[in-house]
């Protein structure tokens, strides 16, 4: 009996939870909302014809059968209730659940609803009550032996219940209230229904079951993008209380019966949907924008000091484009993702790739390119800092990573399912948003964000690449599906914000979707810009004055410029669409030589680490803590040289050819000169160089030029660089060679 204490605790916990967790019973009901164009009495007849026993009503349906009012038991007379009971009995239908939008604050009024509903045989309410009423409702439901299922729509209409994490949180201490979500809203919000019920675990007592097509419309279960079969299998596997599946079918409201029959058939034998992804020769594209705004405060990533989010200024999203080319039966699939985050860290990348393997096995994970916009005001994707509050008020990185993966992976699936025969166009524009952020002084030293009004200021260290590389995909009706925009500037104007902020890309997306259509997906990609920034570096008064006269913030102004630059070239790009561009893809793993710390750099790192450690202990300054880790890594790297004097750094390059363009990625904050070298030497008519893509598997660091290393300063010192100029040239050569290979075929 040495395991007794653990086992006893488990049993006690089960008992206290009030919800049995043994064998999971699943019952099915037809949601009367499917027949919302009919009266409740007519609905009873139709459900009876389907041969289904259970009905799940809603309290704003007209009753019919000579009864004037709606199906609100508290508002109906005793005689009317009796008439309803008779009708149900006649048709052998049980009204086992009722959607009751909200409950009154008055306890007596609530009791009346419970009492009269129970008299109709209702066991469960599906509702979205005011969170403050939950304890009272939980108590009353217990007294009546009934349950309340918390329902949710999308984030905007149901801020308290749209996400399963939020619902699970609310139900944790309640005995008679659990989740009753809607898989249709989950799918539209980019959430995989399977992930939804896995998050909820035992805290679910039912859901409105929908499957949707790529346009978000209801389709018979098992034929849409929701992977409902997999969800049902998971449901059976997860222990918990009995579950009610409400078949709610929103399409064809005038006559949904045939589709509902198909749903019922599917429930008998839920097979995976095999009718998808069978493309004939051609070029296909589908795109989806997935909301990844965290539901709770998070650690904002991008500075040495700790910042915890206090709300959000803009959307935080992952924008996904699925492209497939089929030629002579050979398929080349590629997924491109732009994610509002500072960098794709290892802690995210590894589970993300695992989830891809499990859930989208048909695409090699190497063909999925995920890139960071580099916003410095998005959730952290790496290891949690030791100074992160541990009282549960802040979402841990692990929680957020799971949250993001649970939304991005289904989003990829959805983008793939949305793929349609497509057209492709591309073009080059210009936008002035970046500055080289390294100031060079008379003594040859360079300083990131160094002052430019000093008498010894000589120049900014290098050029700025103002290209706006753009490609667009349209469907066969010439409706714009997606725009991919590459600009060699990180999206980090608001980098010390305490609110979640997608920076200039979020504002650009907003302004472009207003103009080009709300369904157009905008992928903002960062070109080679390790030495670039959107911060004004000189004659700031002149720029700031223009922004003030326009009554815009700088981030808004940058978005305005990008939008104008897109407007300037869009018609030109649209004037030369190609129907079936040659598409080729190469993923290349490369081991680059690491930049080797010198003895002096090692000594310097030790001294700095000691100073910062002592400073942190004295002051609790979180920036000291962040910088401490930065120096410690150099100490480790130097000491590891004894074991391996020529260490390498594993990385990967992806090169995608679409027609005349090449798109090549790397994981670094790559100095612009390398990007210009690639563009200058590329065989493609136009070359999109993209940095901050997910690596193999680590995230990238600054990759400086030899000229920058001479100047030193943050971004070009050993602490900032895993790979130095030698590796940068190899990266360039390998990329140029891969482009050449892909362009050897005309």
């Amino acid at each position: 009996m040495k395991h007794f204490p653990t086992l006893a605790l488990f049993i006690i916990l089960l008992f206290l939870s009030g919800i049995p967790t043994l064998a999971r019973e699943i019952d099915t009901a037809i949601a009367a909302y499917s027949y919302r164009q009919f009266s409740f009495f007519e609905t009873i007849d139709k459900v009876a014809e389907l041969g289904v026993r259970n009905l799940y009503g809603f309290n704003f349906q007209t009753v019919g059968g000579g009864i004037e009012g709606k199906l609100d038991p508290a508002a109906l007379s005793d005689a009317e209730l009796e008439k309803i009971r008779l009708k149900l009995t006649e048709k052998k239908i049980s009204l086992i659940a009722l959607y009751y939008g909200s409950f009154p604050e008055d306890e007596a009024a609530c009791r009346k609803i419970f009492e009269r509903s129970k008299s109709l045989g209702i066991q469960t309410f599906v509702s979205e009550p005011d969170p403050k009423l939950l304890p009272m409702l939980d108590r009353i439901a217990g007294e009546f032996g009934m349950k309340i299922g918390l329902h949710g729509h999308d984030r905007q209409s149901s801020p308290n219940t749209w996400h399963p994490l939020l619902v699970a949180d609310k139900c944790r201490n309640l005995k008679n209230i659990a989740a009753f979500n809607d898989t249709g809203h989950w799918i539209r919000s980019g959430l995989d229904p399977t992930d939804g019920i896995e998050i909820l675990g035992k805290f679910t007592i039912g859901f409105d079951l929908h499957d949707l097509n790529a346009e978000g419309k209801d389709v018979p279960l098992g034929t849409g993008v929701g992977n409902i079969g997999r969800m049902l299998r998971a449901l059976k596997r997860i222990p918990g209380p009995p579950v009610l599946i409400g078949i709610e079918y929103n399409s064809n409201p005038q006559d949904p019966t045939a589709d509902i029959k198909q749903c019922l058939e599917f429930l008998k034998d839920p097979k995976p949907n095999t009718s998808l992804n069978k493309f004939s020769d051609g070029f296909y594209a589908g795109a989806v924008s997935v909301d990844i705004l965290p539901p709770k405060p998070v650690h904002l990533s991008g500075q040495f000091s700790l910042r915890v989010s206090q709300g959000a200024k803009t959307s935080i999203s992952a924008n996904i484009l699925a492209l497939t080319s089929v030629k002579n039966g050979q398929t080349v699939p590629v997924i491109l993702i732009s994610m509002d985050t500072v960098v794709i860290r290892e802690q995210f990348n590894i589970p993300f790739r695992q989830a891809l393997k499990e859930k989208i096995p048909e695409i090699p994970t190497e063909n999925v390119i995920i890139c960071a916009t580099h916003t410095h005001s998005a959730p952290h994707l790496g290891q949690d800092r030791p100074d992160l509050p541990k009282d549960g008020s802040v979402m841990t990185s692990k929680e957020y990573i799971k949250f993001a993966i649970d939304r991005i992976v289904p989003g990829i699936r959805q983008a793939m399912e949305k793929q349609v025969p497509a057209k492709f166009g591309f073009g080059l524009g210009f936008v002035n948003i970046a500055y080289n952020r390294r100031a060079v002084y008379a003594d040859g030293s360079a300083v990131m964000y160094g002052k430019t009004d000093r008498p010894d200021f000589r120049s900014l260290e290098g050029m700025t690449d103002n290209d706006l590389d753009m490609f667009c995909v349209w469907n066969q009706k010439d409706e714009l599906i997606a725009m991919l925009l590459t600009i060699a500037c990180p999206s980090q104007e608001n980098e010390n914000s305490l609110t979640l902020d997608g920076d200039f890309w979020a504002r650009t997306r907003e302004s472009l979707t207003k103009k080009y259509g709300k369904d157009t997906v905008i992928l903002g990609m960062c070109g080679a810009a390790g030495d670039q920034s959107p911060h004004i570096r000189y004659r700031a008064a002149a720029e700031q004055r223009m922004t003030a006269l326009r009554n815009l913030s700088r981030a808004d102004e940058l978005a305005r410029r990008i939008t104008c630059a897109v407007d300037d070239i869009y018609d030109v790009v649209a004037s030369e669409k190609s129907d079936n561009p040659l598409m080729k893809y190469e993923y290349l793993e490369v081991d680059l030589p690491q930049r080797i710390p010198t003895k002096a750099e090692y000594d310097d790192a030790i001294a700095n680490a000691e100073r910062l450690q002592s400073n942190y202990e004295k002051t609790g300054n979180t920036a000291s803590l962040g910088m401490l880790g930065w120096h410690k890594r150099i100490i480790t790297r130097y000491e590891n040289l004894k074991l391996n004097p020529k260490p390498t750094y594993p990385t990967s390059i992806s090169v995608l050819r679409i027609g005349d363009i090449a798109l090549c990625t790397n994981q670094f904050e790559l100095y612009s000169d390398y990007g210009v070298q690639m563009k200058a030497r590329s065989k493609a008519a136009q070359t999109f160089v993209i940095q901050l893509a997910s690596g193999a598997p680590d995230s990238g660091t600054y990759l400086p030029t030899a000229h920058a290393v001479k100047g030193g300063g943050y971004g070009a010192v050993i602490q900032s660089n895993s790979v130095g100029p030698e590796g940068g040239l190899i990266l360039t050569e390998e990329t140029v060679k891969a482009i050449e290979r892909l362009f050897s075929e005309k």
Binding site: F457, N466, A542, M546
Partner: protein, 499 residues
């Protein structure tokens, strides 16, 4: 105009114009007496009527006609405060540079024909088109063709048109408003490619495997100054872009390059009588030629059905459109105006013994080549090296030679416009902008000098890389002088902003 009826109408029109302008003169004079801010602008056509030498290459080119008009665009500004006038005249002229013979004659003529304001207050700047008429000495290999207009003759032709135009603008001043703003336009590239061995080459290939970067940054600012009359009618726009107007630099036709096209688009939109002054910012190391990934840019031009030079005109016009309403929203009525002309003697770049020897051997080689081939480029380049030889020999007698130059600084309200005569590397312009006390700073190169026209003025970093534009033969003044130029300009700006 119909040739038959022209003789009848021309005298009538001229008479009417004279009457009208006399009436206007009187009122302008009356108004000009009162404190206030006054302006007037005029554009004149200075396209030569006969063939000329096109200036801007080592080899000789004779014009075979004109693609665009060649113009001089004049803006007169005058502030009167407590009865004291501060006048300034800005002129943008479609030539490669304001060469010494032209500048001397022009200034002398001003003294007698337009003594109203000091000649120093007249800023004459070249757009740097490489397909404008030569206003300097004729090349030695010019054919003996009577129809050919020589450099001095063309210079005289321009002066005879330009001074009356300035006088006319001066007389036509009206109470004015001004507005300014900053936009962006992508027309320039840094034209110096750097390679793995540290060497730099102007227009060096960028698709070589040892290509490492372009040498420096590009300044994409579009500094704009607009002048309106009291009724908000736009009179003039000053547009300052750090890029020489030299896309079409090997043409055999007169061509005002991208400024010609930009003016034409802007006049179409903002009014045919709006005078557009295109001024070149610090851009010694810049050029409008595409330096890499040419195919991507060329393709866009092809799809737009535009030549590159037309596309550059389109971009400038669009960039103006982007900011015009913002500028218009913040017009100012009576700005503080201050002007300072500062003569400077900058240290000349010294010629080393090795550089001297190279110049001797190169000039000999090129002379021999010219003898053999009559290649006019060889002739031009030999002269270029001979100047280095002369400088070295002069320095033997005068060990610390200086180079006389001048800067002009004009303050207009919150902005400042400062000129120099060089092809000044962009980094110097950035230094001036970054340290300037003004809210917005217009740096203008290729202004008329004291009295010679400017040569390339490179940074220390560029001198390390070498190459055309940063070798001694290209530079009368080196990085040391560049820093002095920057300091002196900033000091004057500081002084003008004391008020």
């Amino acid at each position: 105009m119909n040739k038959i009826i022209a003789p009848i109408f021309i005298p009538v029109i001229l008479m009417l114009t004279a009457i009208l302008s006399a009436a206007q003169d009187t009122s302008a004079k009356q108004e000009a007496a009162a404190d206030g801010f006054y302006a007037s602008a005029v554009s004149i056509d200075i396209t030569p009527e006969r063939p000329v030498t096109l200036s801007g290459q080592f080899y000789t080119r004779i014009s075979k006609g004109a693609n665009t008009p060649i113009t001089a665009n004049v803006l007169v500004l005058n502030s009167i405060r407590n009865g004291r006038s501060t006048p300034a005249v800005l002129i943008s002229i479609d030539v490669v540079s304001i060469r010494e013979p032209f500048n001397i004659t022009f200034r002398e003529a001003l003294k007698t024909q337009f003594p109203e304001i000091p000649s120093e207050n007249i800023i004459l700047c070249a757009t740097h088109t490489h397909a404008g008429p030569n206003v300097g000495n004729d090349p030695g290999d010019l054919p003996n063709d009577a129809d050919l207009m020589r450099g001095r003759e063309y210079g005289q032709f321009v002066i005879e048109k330009l001074i009356p135009a300035i006088r006319q603008a001066w007389k036509n001043q009206v109470p004015a408003k001004y507005g300014y703003g900053l936009g962006f336009v992508n027309v320039a590239y840094n034209r110096r490619a750097i390679y793995a061995d540290g060497s730099a080459v102007m227009y060096g290939k960028t698709n070589r495997s040892d290509f490492r970067g372009l040498e420096g940054m590009t300044d994409n600012d579009l500094n704009t100054l607009c002048i309106w009359d009291k009724n908000d009618k736009l009179l003039s726009m000053v547009l300052n872009i750090a890029c020489p107007s030299q896309e079409n630099e090997h043409l055999l036709f007169l061509d005002a390059d991208f400024w010609g096209r930009a003016r034409s688009r802007l006049n179409e939109k903002y009014g045919q009588d709006v005078v557009i002054l295109g001024l070149c910012g610090a851009a010694g190391d810049q050029s409008p030629h595409i330096r890499y990934r040419n195919e991507a840019e060329d393709r866009m031009n092809r799809l737009r059905n535009l030549s590159r030079v037309e596309e550059l005109g389109r971009r400038i016009a669009n960039a103006v459109d982007d900011i015009y309403e913002v500028i218009n929203s913040d017009k100012k009525e009576n700005p503080v105006m201050a002007f300072e002309y500062l003569p400077l003697d900058l240290p000349q770049r010294k010629i080393t013994e090795k550089e001297y020897q190279t110049a001797i051997s190169e000039s000999k080689r090129l002379d021999a080549e010219y003898e053999k081939t009559k290649n006019s480029s060889a002739y031009g380049q030999a002269n270029w090296h001979r100047r280095t030889i002369k400088r070295y020999e002069y320095a033997k007698e005068n060990p610390n030679p200086t180079y006389p130059t001048s800067i002009c600084v004009l303050r207009l309200g919150e902005i400042v416009l400062c000129t120099n005569q060089f092809e000044l590397y962009t980094d110097f312009g950035i230094q001036i902008k970054a340290r300037s006390k003004a809210k917005q700073t217009f740096v203008v190169q290729l202004a008329s000098g004291r009295p010679a026209c400017g040569t390339y003025l490179p940074t220390a970093f560029a001198v390390q890389g070498g190459g055309y534009g940063a070798v001694p033969a290209s530079n009368m003044v080196g990085p040391e002088g560049g820093l002095i130029l920057v300091e002196e300009t900033l000091k004057v700006i500081d002084k003008l902003f004391e008020e």
